[in-house]
């Protein structure tokens, strides 16, 4: 509908420009600001901390000006009675901003852990999912049965339960604690790694389902042709079927990435101080639940939109005529 409109529009140039200015830019600018802030935070707190002049966790923007302005606006509202409500709201928003400046440094550290947790889990999960999906489609009877059982077991039980089983019911934590380097310096402590293992095992099952569907949708003639030029079955899968399957799986794979960013918050239940964990800890101390959970929602949204934008770039970068649907 919109495509038809824009092609018949008498002045498509203007339309495009308007579209660019008012729809694309704010998102790009917002994401850019978000990441500049995040990276600046990480740099000052993790890299420059201890160097004179850089205090770990000091807000970049002081809260005082927000509070002064809020008080001034609120005092303006008092004589207006009910009519001053909008001014009161504005004052509250300023107070929220003042609170945010105080909490954001700690939340930036939470973002670091969340990003690390997600990236590790999704990458390791993929490394497991690829062979699992190939086995599901091309494996022998028993291998297929094993892969299917694994996938169904994982997909059929709650992620939180899987996490608790690994953390509380196995000796994984003790084993990981004994690994040299764990919890030292920048290397996160054992609970983080239990979460990584749990999310990896979980994500592998979901990713293998996406990949299986994509591999199955690659035309059978492709592998026949690969076999006919003398490639072994495994080579044919590797050089011909998998590359096409991966391309087809990208959109649903993005889905999995987005889910994992949010589901990684479950790690807070086993003491990992990722984004949700940090928020929850601060909220329990300050009782500012509303402010903090609105703030954390905005931060998760920024992470998710960044991931989607990144995968969009990957999708258009790997777009191949005739493999999957190509966008205009």
């Amino acid at each position: 509908m919109s495509t038809a409109e824009s092609t018949t529009s008498p002045n498509p140039g203007l339309r495009d420009r308007v579209g660019t200015v008012f729809t694309v830019r704010p998102l790009t600018v917002g994401l850019a600001l978000f990441w500049v802030w995040v990276l600046a935070r990480w740099t000052t707190d993790f890299v420059l901390a201890g160097v004179s002049g850089f205090d770990r966790g000091t807000p970049f923007i002081p809260a005082a000006p927000f509070l002064t302005t809020a008080d001034a606006v609120a005092s303006l509202a008092t004589p207006l009675g009910v009519a001053g409500a909008p001014l009161v709201w504005f004052a509250d928003t300023l107070r929220f901003a003042a609170d945010a400046t105080a909490y954001l440094p700690a939340l930036a550290h939470g973002i670091w852990t969340t990003v690390l947790l997600t990236v590790f889990s999704v990458c390791l999960g993929f490394a497991l999912a690829l062979p699992l999906s190939v086995v599901r489609v091309y494996g022998g009877r028993w291998a297929r049965w094993f892969a299917l059982s694994y996938t169904e077991l994982i997909r059929g039980t709650p992620l939180l339960a899987q996490l608790f089983v690994l953390y509380f019911a196995t000796s994984l934590t003790q084993v990981l604690r004994g690994v040299p380097g764990v919890g030292v310096g920048f290397v996160p402590a054992q609970a983080f790694w239990v979460a990584v293992i749990s999310f990896t095992l979980n994500s592998a099952a979901y990713q293998s389902e996406y990949l299986r569907a994509s591999l199955e949708s690659v035309d059978g003639g492709q592998l026949t042709a690969a076999r006919a030029i003398g490639l072994s079955k495994l080579e044919g899968i590797r050089y011909v079927v998998v590359p096409q399957g991966l391309r087809l799986a990208l959109p649903s794979w993005t889905n999995e990435l987005v889910y994992l960013i949010k589901y990684s918050s479950l790690a807070s239940f086993i003491t990992v101080q990722e984004l949700y964990g940090r928020t929850s800890t601060i909220a329990n101390e300050t009782y500012q639940y509303t402010e903090l959970f609105v703030l954390v929602a905005i931060l998760y949204l920024a992470l998710v939109v960044s991931a989607s934008a990144l995968m969009d770039r990957v999708e258009s970068h790997t777009a191949t005529a005739g493999v999957g649907h190509t966008r205009q």
Binding site: G221, A225, R227, A228, G230, S232, V240, T320, V323
Partner: protein
């Protein structure tokens, strides 16, 4: 030539209880162009696929260069290096450009280095008149161009024998000519070809032998002029007259 390049002897193949090939025998010398014709379901494509073992046979013997290729210890990948195949539905690798389609086999199967494979691949694309389309993806090519890339892909392995499985059946009528022309050139160059096709034009001008297959057995075979002008079997005659009728209406 003391021994034939390809010899098929008493070949039986059935799918479940349905016997598709009932004791087929065939011989081809180097440089021969044999065209298999026959009604649909007569087993032509199955026979072709038995030669490079995309389909396993039930009994009989197939030998290439005197080497039995149907044994359990035969290396099928080794066999397929020597036997190229061109498919009805092209089956070009969708994620690879025309050139990459042609070079994948030489690189991964023959172990050629990338530069050599590409140089050779360009030659093969030139041979089928598609050098300019080297960087196009299959989806960007016409049916006729796709099939010519398919032929180049088979030739790139430098095979002793090329199998053509109804190479023009999936093409729009106006695109058949370009593919037939390429095949005729290959025949002239002495490439050994086993072709399933009802392209009478090609059969008459390029075939050294026509084989008429019906109900899983070879009814009749001979040089094109003999088989087309003076078929000895009634079934051949009936089939050919139906084919002519179809050609005239088309």
């Amino acid at each position: 030539m003391t021994q034939p390049l390809l010899s098929i002897d008493d070949l039986h193949k059935s799918y479940g209880s349905e016997e598709v090939l009932e004791g087929v025998g065939l011989e081809m010398d180097q440089g021969d162009v044999t065209v298999l014709i026959g009604p649909s379901g007569s087993g032509k494509s199955t026979l072709l696929r038995c030669v490079n073992r995309l389909t396993e046979i039930n009994s009989g013997r197939i030998a290439l260069d005197g080497q039995d290729v149907t044994g359990a210890d035969t290396d099928v990948n080794e066999l397929r290096k020597q036997v190229g195949m061109v498919f009805q539905d092209f089956n070009l690798f969708a994620h690879l450009t025309a050139l990459e389609n042609v070079t994948l086999g030489p690189k991964k199967v023959l172990g050629m280095d990338a530069a050599d494979a590409e140089a050779a691949g360009r030659n093969h694309l030139e041979q089928v008149g598609l050098l300019e389309q080297a960087d196009s993806y299959p989806a960007e090519l016409s049916g006729g161009q796709k099939q010519r890339v398919g032929i180049a892909r088979a030739l790139a392995m430098d095979p002793e024998l090329v199998l053509f499985d109804e190479p023009t059946s999936a093409l729009d009528p106006e695109l058949v000519g370009e593919v037939v022309e390429v095949m005729r050139d290959l025949a002239d160059e002495g490439i050994t070809m086993l072709v399933v096709s009802h392209e009478m034009d090609f059969a008459r001008s390029a075939a050294s032998d026509i084989v008429f297959l019906d109900d899983g057995e070879i009814v009749e075979h001979g040089p094109p002029e003999q088989l087309f002008q003076n078929p000895t079997a009634d079934r051949t005659e009936q089939f050919l007259s139906r084919l002519h009728a179809h050609e005239e209406t088309a």
